[in-house]
Structure formats: C-alpha cells, structure tokens
C-alpha cells in the first residue's frame, strides 16, 4: 500500500482543460472519492494516475516514486472500469489469472491466488464461465476480483457501480467499503453520485470543470462547503441558494429581497457579510435547518409553496422565496398545499453565506 500525491496536475485536449491544476494527497490506506458532475474530469484524472494517457503538466507520485513517465504496468496499480472490461474470450478463471500470468508467477501460485480471490468474492462456482454468461453483478465481482488478486499499491475504480440496478448497487457499496476496511487498501474511487462518495469515502475530492473544488472529509464538505458549487452538489435534496442584497436597517445588518422583506443577521453572520467584496450575497440553507410556519412569525419570511413531495418519513416542500426555489423538510403530519402562503424561519447558526460575485463561502475575519 502506498500514498498517492498529485501536484498541479494538468491535462489538456487541444484548448480544453480536462484536468486543471489539481493537487491532492491520498494517504496510505485512505479511501478517497473523486466526485463531480459528468464531464468534470474524473475519469481523465484517474487515467492520468493509471498512466493510460500522458500528462500535460504536473507530477504524480505513487509511494515514493514519481511515476509521470512510467508505463501502467510498472505503477503497481489495479483498476476497475465502469464497463468492467473483462476479457470476453477468457473464462473467469483466466480473467483473474491474467495479471498474475503477465507477472510470470509460478502456475501453482497463480492457481492458489485465483482460488483465494474467488472464494473471497464467493464465485468459485463461476470460474469456468465466460463473462457473457454472467449477470451484471457477477461481472462486477469478477472485475473487482481481477483487481485484488494482485495486491497492488493502489486501487483505482471508475464508477464501478453505475451499471448496476439500485438494489445491487447498495449491496456492492457496502461490500466495497468492507473490502477497504479489511485490506486497508489505498483506493481512489470515481463517482458522479454524491451519495456514494459521502457514504463510502474517508475523504472526498469534489471536482467541477476540471478544477478541484474542495478536498476534505465528507462531514467537513457537507458542513462547510467552500463555494456555491460544492454547496449545491453535495446533499440531497440540494442546498437551497437564494441571491439577496446586503444592507443595513436601524443600524442592523440585514439581507434584503426584491420582494420587500429583510432578514436580520446575527453578529457573526454580519461580520461575514461585511467581508464580502460586493453587496450581492447568496443565502444558503439545507432543507432540515429551515423551519416552516403556517402563520406569520417574528423573524420568519413569507414564501409560496410550489410542490409537496411526501416520502413517508418526511415530506419535502419546495417553496418560492425571492424568485428561488427553496427545499424544506417537514414531518409528515404537517399538511401544506401548493400555492399556500407559508413563513420560513432560518437558523442563524446553520445558514451559509456566499459572495454573489466570487461564489465563494464567506468567512468572518
């Protein structure tokens, strides 16, 4: 096992920056999720680490070696592909044996390792089959097996679960997590599903447009998103973002809306707003931190219900506030109807404030 360090990694295709100055350190034994919307450069980053495509700039260090110019086979990595990439002409046994054969291990050792891996993944009975004779879930296991027969320094996984149905995905999610705990393996795991990242990873690297947006533990990223993109990408339903205007009323710092109301700020939040470059402030709040009232309350802001989505455990309400849709969760016992007038109360300790121009989270100096 080893650590992986990316230093100012750049990959361009023509004038397009697929990966733009990404720096991060994956510690030995850590499970890091690369997460972001489709096309943000996750696969490219992973392929750069694997050595499948040449880097444009920067450095990649695996263990204590700079591997920039090493062939994939010399980097001591294993990879699980989104489409599994099992060798169609080979049996499951030979798929698992291939990496060992290429490393010229003795036959009996290959046999032992293949059978061990098959036992771990509970597919001893499938060894003689061809990949096309397996279900999607079984193919996925073989792909995983082929990665782990070799005990590489680093595991790279590119959306390994995205081709499975929802139920199998949840099951494999816990299996991969278990596998990480048992092996203490260093894993870089690419996914576009923020829930997968949050539930599985020790740390998550949120990417967008080729840039690394934030790299931290899921709890930190969730609690302290560095910018509006991360805030809206992590969490489901997404954090609501409402663009407002900073001003003062009666000597108090407030956020005002074009709708005419003003939201007074706590002293800490007032200091954050004072640090902003402009008057444009974006208010962010997660659904569970907003209180919904059916009558006017001091400090609550008027909003109009748009949709109501009961899920059984909680009911999600979307309401229009100053031209933006806001998600609120309420207990199922609370009944609201579309187009009903409601009042929303924000928790001053749990709201997020962003600079409307730079889209960065605001901090009190």
């Amino acid at each position: 096992m080893a650590q992986v360090v990316l230093k100012d990694l750049i990959k361009t295709y023509g004038s397009v920056y697929a990966v733009n100055n990404v720096s991060l350190t994956v510690n030995d034994g850590e499970f890091v999720a690369l997460v972001g919307p489709s096309g943000c450069g996750k696969t490219t980053t992973l392929n750069l680490v694997a050595g499948l495509i040449p880097i444009t700039g920067g450095d990649i260090v695996i263990g204590d070696r700079v591997v920039n110019d090493l062939d994939p086979k010399d980097r001591d990595i294993a990879m699980v592909f989104q489409n599994y990439a099992l060798y169609p002409q080979k049996s499951v046994y030979n798929n698992l044996a291939f990496p060992l054969q290429m490393r010229r291990l003795p036959k009996d050792e290959i046999d032992r390792k293949v059978r061990d891996a098959a036992k771990v993944l509970d597919m001893t009975h499938l060894l003689e089959r061809k990949p096309r004779e397996l279900s999607g879930g079984q193919q996925q296991r073989v792909a995983l097996g082929r990665a782990l027969v070799r005990d590489p320094a680093v595991f790279l996984m590119d959306e390994p679960l995205s081709n499975l149905d929802a139920k199998l995905r949840v099951q494999m999610r816990s299996e991969i997590k278990r596998f990480h705990q048992d092996l203490k393996a260093t894993i870089i795991y690419v996914t576009h599903d923020q829930l997968e990242a949050v539930t599985m990873a020790d740390k998550m690297a949120v990417m967008n447009g080729g840039f690394l947006q934030q790299y931290d533990t899921p709890a930190q990223v969730f609690a302290h998103p560095l910018n509006m993109f991360v805030a809206s990408f992590i969490g489901s339903p997404a954090m609501s973002l409402v663009p407002l205007e900073a001003s003062t009323a009666n000597g108090m710092s407030v956020l005002t809306s074009a709708e005419g109301w003003a939201l007074p700020l706590s002293p800490l939040n007032a200091r954050k707003v004072a640090a902003a470059k402009s008057k444009k402030i974006v208010l962010g709040a997660r659904h569970s931190t907003i209180k919904l009232h059916k009558s006017a309350q001091p400090g609550a802001i008027p909003a109009k219900v748009y949709t109501v989505e009961p899920t059984g455990d909680v009911t999600f309400v979307q309401a229009f506030l100053s031209g933006s849709l806001v998600n609120i969760s309420v207990p199922p016992a609370v009944h609201v109807a579309p187009d009903e007038q409601v009042w929303l109360e924000f928790d001053q300790d749990r709201i997020h404030l962003f600079d409307g121009e730079t889209e960065m989270a605001l901090h009190a100096d």
């Binding site: 086979k73 990879m79 592909f81 989104q82 060798y87 002409q89 990496p99 290429m102 490393r103």
Partner: protein, 293 residues
C-alpha cells in the same frame, strides 16, 4: 374483444403468408439464377467432347466420364502440366497477396482506430480514394510503373497490384472492427502488466479474428479471380494465372468444352472450400463491422 380478434386473425395471417410465398419464390429464382450455371458447368465437365456439342443438349450425360479431370490433373501430359502450373501460380499470387494484405492492414487499421496523429483523417480518405475509380483506369499507369520497376512478367507485379485493390477495403473493414472493441480492454491489460504490444497481441488480436478472416477471404478471392491485370502484365506462358491461363489455353486448342468446364470447376473449388469453412466469420464480420454498438 375476443370476437373482433377472432374475425381479424385469419385475414391478417393470410396477408403475411402471401408475402412469405412471394419471398420464397423470389429466393428460389435467385438460387436458380446463381446455381444453374454452376450445375451446367459440372454436367458439361463430365461429358465427352462429342456429347457436349450435341443439340438438343443432353440434360444428363449418357456416358458420364471423368476423362477431362484425369487429363487436367495428370502431370505426364502437356495439358495437365499447364493446368497444374497455372493453378500453382494462382495459388502463389493469391496467398502472397492475402498474407501481405493482412500483415499490412491489421496494424494500419489499428492505428487508424486507436491513435490520433497529424493527417489521420486525410490519410484515411486517401486510402479510400483508390476505390472511387474503376479498376481499369489504373491499367496503363500501373503497367508503365511495373515496366519501370522491371516487374512485368513477374508475379510480384500482380501481388502489388492486387494489394492496391484489396488493402483499402481491408483497412476500412478492420478499422470498423477495432472501433467496436472497447479501448478499456487494452487499458485493463496494460494495467494488468501487459505492454502496449502485448495488449494488442493477447487481447485485441484474438477478438478481431473474425475481421481478419473476412479480410483474408476478401483479398484471396479478389486475387484468385482477377483477369484484366493478369492478362496485361503477364505474357509468358509459364507465369500465367488460372483465369487467363484457362482462357488462352482452351481457345488455342479449338474449344474443348468439357475440359474448359472441368478446369473452371476446379478453379472454383478453393474459393468454395474457403467460404464453407469460414463463412460463419465472414457474415459476422460484415454485420459487426458495420454497426456501432
């Protein structure tokens, strides 16, 4: 509901049957169109010279004989010597063409499919440009070229010429094949410890065997049947290939129809055998290369 479907079912079935029968009749006609000449060729080849010229024709030879075949395959007499030499010449030219075509087309198609390099698009269409003109257009220029190269009356001239016909389509066909093999397979192999070349050799090549076989059959048949270039480039009797050889040979010795038909039949044997052995791959290749999954 049930009464309606009961009423309609037989009528619609009858309409489908009508189409099906039209289709069958059409297929039978097509089959006769392609098979009858072959059958007639075979029948004539086992007649005596006299029986072959009779009118009205004998539908079934009254005294079937294998004399023509014996004559052609007998290395002792001059007819047999010539025929066997032509056969050998054709085999040599066709096999060389096929081997070279596969040898060049496989890496070329792979490169066009997998690598980006300057002028890739241009080169790919340049390769096809050759096939946009009828073959005879190049007859004179190629002849002049061969003369300059001193290749007239050698099998080399034919092999080179047939490659210019066969290679472009071979490359095109194989590229379609490689395009359909996911690049992740090679990437997986390279991560599993293979060099780029090993990944190609151990993983990609076996998967493209149907395409390679199709390419090979295509090149072989093209070279085996070619007439015009062979007739132009080769004048020495001992260098002739079968298509030209048979034609010259039998028009010289007044027309011996059973002999001509026996020779033609034997000429079609290698092609038919190749096809029967490999048709499975050929059909698969033509359909697989065509569609992008």
């Amino acid at each position: 509901m049930t009464s309606i479907s009961n009423n309609q079912a037989p009528r619609s079935r009858r309409r489908i049957d009508g189409w099906r029968w039209t289709g069958r009749i059409f297929l039978v006609l097509m089959l006769m169109y392609t098979a009858l000449p072959m059958i007639w060729m075979l029948l004539t080849s086992i007649k005596s010279g006299f029986a072959a010229m009779q009118f009205p024709p004998q539908w079934w030879p009254s005294e079937p004989t294998l004399a023509s075949y014996q004559k052609l395959l007998d290395p002792q007499n001059s007819v047999g010597q010539d025929f066997l030499r032509f056969f050998w010449n054709s085999l040599f030219v066709s096999v060389c063409t096929t081997v070279l075509a596969v040898f060049v087309a496989v890496p070329a198609a792979y490169a066009f499919s997998r690598f980006t390099f300057p002028g890739r698009q241009f080169l790919f269409f340049a390769v096809l440009l050759r096939n946009m003109f009828p073959a005879v257009i190049f007859l004179v220029p190629l002849f002049i070229l061969m003369r300059v190269l001193g290749l007239v009356n050698t099998h080399g001239s034919l092999i080179l010429t047939y490659l210019t016909f066969g290679l472009p389509l071979a490359i095109w066909l194989l590229k379609g094949f490689y395009d359909n093999i996911p690049i992740q397979l090679e990437q997986a192999a390279r991560i599993d410890g293979a060099t780029r070349f090993q990944a190609f050799l151990l993983i990609v090549m076996p998967l493209s065997v149907p395409g390679i076989i199709a390419t090979a059959i295509y090149s072989f048949i093209g070279a085996w049947n070619e007439y015009i270039y062979a007739a132009t480039f080769i004048t020495k009797n001992e260098q002739l290939t079968l298509p030209v050889g048979i034609q010259r040979f039998f028009s010289e010795n007044t027309t011996d129809f059973p002999g001509l038909m026996a020779a033609s039949f034997m000429m079609s044997v290698p092609v038919v055998v190749l096809f029967l052995l490999l048709q499975r791959y050929f059909v698969r290749a033509l359909t697989e290369g065509a569609v992008k999954h």
